[in-house]
């Protein structure tokens, strides 16, 4: 279906003043409402297997492992890269969202960078510290988690309920309000079940 939407979006690009190029909002966002779980990636209609994510020692984060999606609480994941300038822009809103609602959910940021080769763990932690990260920081070295939940490009965020259903996801730099609203959708889905 999405494929058709994209092409349909492109097909509607007709009017271009003076030629040149035109930006089209042709790519559907992955913002799938809680009222339409069928529209998510299919895998989410039944609880997917949780993926084990290693967490690192950093401000607000400790070394260990979490399972995503978490079975016992709503999971919020921010996907970022230290190479990604908009991901830096995203950090203050993440910090605010974490302050406001982080204690109600499993709240973490994850990078799929090759930590250990393209960037050392120290460099990652320095980046984290410099941009005031103060919550759980995880690694996705095989990009399995990222592949499952990335909603387009980076940064990207997802809120998943305890049944493993994606209740909200979006890419690009988001405001704290948008992040909190997304997380609340997952929390409300919980309350509803």
């Amino acid at each position: 279906m999405r494929r058709r939407d994209v092409l349909a979006g492109l097909a509607s690009v007709g009017v271009v003043g003076g030629g040149g190029v035109l930006a089209v909002r042709g790519v559907p966002s992955f913002e799938t409402g809680s009222d339409d779980p069928e529209a998510t990636d299919g895998a989410e209609t039944t609880a997917p297997d949780p993926i084990a994510i290693e967490t690192v020692e950093a401000p607000g984060s400790e070394a260990g492992e979490v399972r995503i999606p978490a079975p016992e609480r709503v999971t919020f994941v921010d996907f970022f890269g230290t190479w990604c300038p908009p991901c830096i822009e995203q950090m203050p809103a993440l910090a605010e969202a974490n302050d406001r609602i982080g204690s109600d959910v499993l709240f973490l940021s994850v990078t799929n960078e090759a930590v250990g080769s393209s960037v050392t763990e120290d460099e990652l932690v320095d980046w984290w510290d410099e941009h005031d990260g103060d919550w759980l920081l995880g690694l996705d070295p095989t990009a399995e988690l990222t592949s499952r939940y990335l909603a387009g490009g980076y940064p990207s965020a997802v809120a998943i309920d305890t049944d493993g259903r994606v209740q909200w996801s979006d890419s690009g730099v988001k405001t704290a309000d948008e992040l909190v609203a997304g997380i609340e959708r997952a929390l409300e889905a919980e309350a509803g079940t």
């Binding site: 999405r2 494929r3 058709r4 994209v6 092409l7 349909a8 979006g9 492109l10 097909a11 509607s12 690009v13 007709g14 009017v15 271009v16 030629g19 040149g20 190029v21 035109l22 930006a23 089209v24 909002r25 042709g26 790519v27 559907p28 966002s29 992955f30 990636d41 299919g42 895998a43 890269g81 190479w83 990604c84 300038p85 908009p86 822009e89 799929n112 960078e113 090759a114 080769s117 393209s118 960037v119 070295p141 095989t142 990009a143 399995e144 990222t146 592949s147 499952r148 990335l150 387009g152 490009g153 980076y154 940064p155 990207s156 890419s171 690009g172 730099v173």
Partner: protein, 234 residues
Amino acid sequence: MNRRTCLQTIVASSFIATAGCLESLSPGDEESTRSRADGVTLGPPEQDLSEASHPSYGEEFPTVEFPDPLTGETVSTEQFVGERTTLMTFFYTSCPDGACPALLLRLRRAQEVAAEEGYGDDAAFLGMTFDPERDTEDELRAYADQQGVNLDAGNWHFLRPKEYEDAKASLTEQFGLPLEKRDADEYENLEYMFPHYNYLFLVNEQGRIERVYPDGATVDPSQIVDDFETVVTA
């Protein structure tokens, strides 16, 4: 407010609007009239793109040949015929909207699974840049690292035409994917950018196209991985 959203723009030249592929979207010409093409493993795609400007399902993949600056070799798509299943995309490292990392993520994920499942030597992952001016050897190497690509697996190649004009000619004429270069006024740190299509091509060992993913930056990566596995293990 500069809400920098990755993928919020897919960009198209005006003339694409009337390109064949986009007019063939009337419902009703689907499944019933189409069947599995000769020489491919996957069934026909949900979306019939056979009238598109680009080569599509069941057709021969174009032969292109460009240097891989990281290995120093010249890489031709034809060299994988009879050897490897190929997943190919087109990108540039300065891509401001996140589409290119999203495309490479799909190649990288397929590469990862290929290694896990033991068919890495039967697979080829090709990323062709159309921005050789900025995408130097060093840039491409750094980018590969950032995107988690395994350059040591021996199945990943960057294709780098010498000039943008070469890349544009190849992309538009051989792959049927319009491309443009223009000023990037909306991005502070970018002088110019390339509106481009986010396509992925899955090509079997016989050099035939098994699947075209026109929404390569958003298509579910597990779909690509599954399709790739089906084709490579067929």
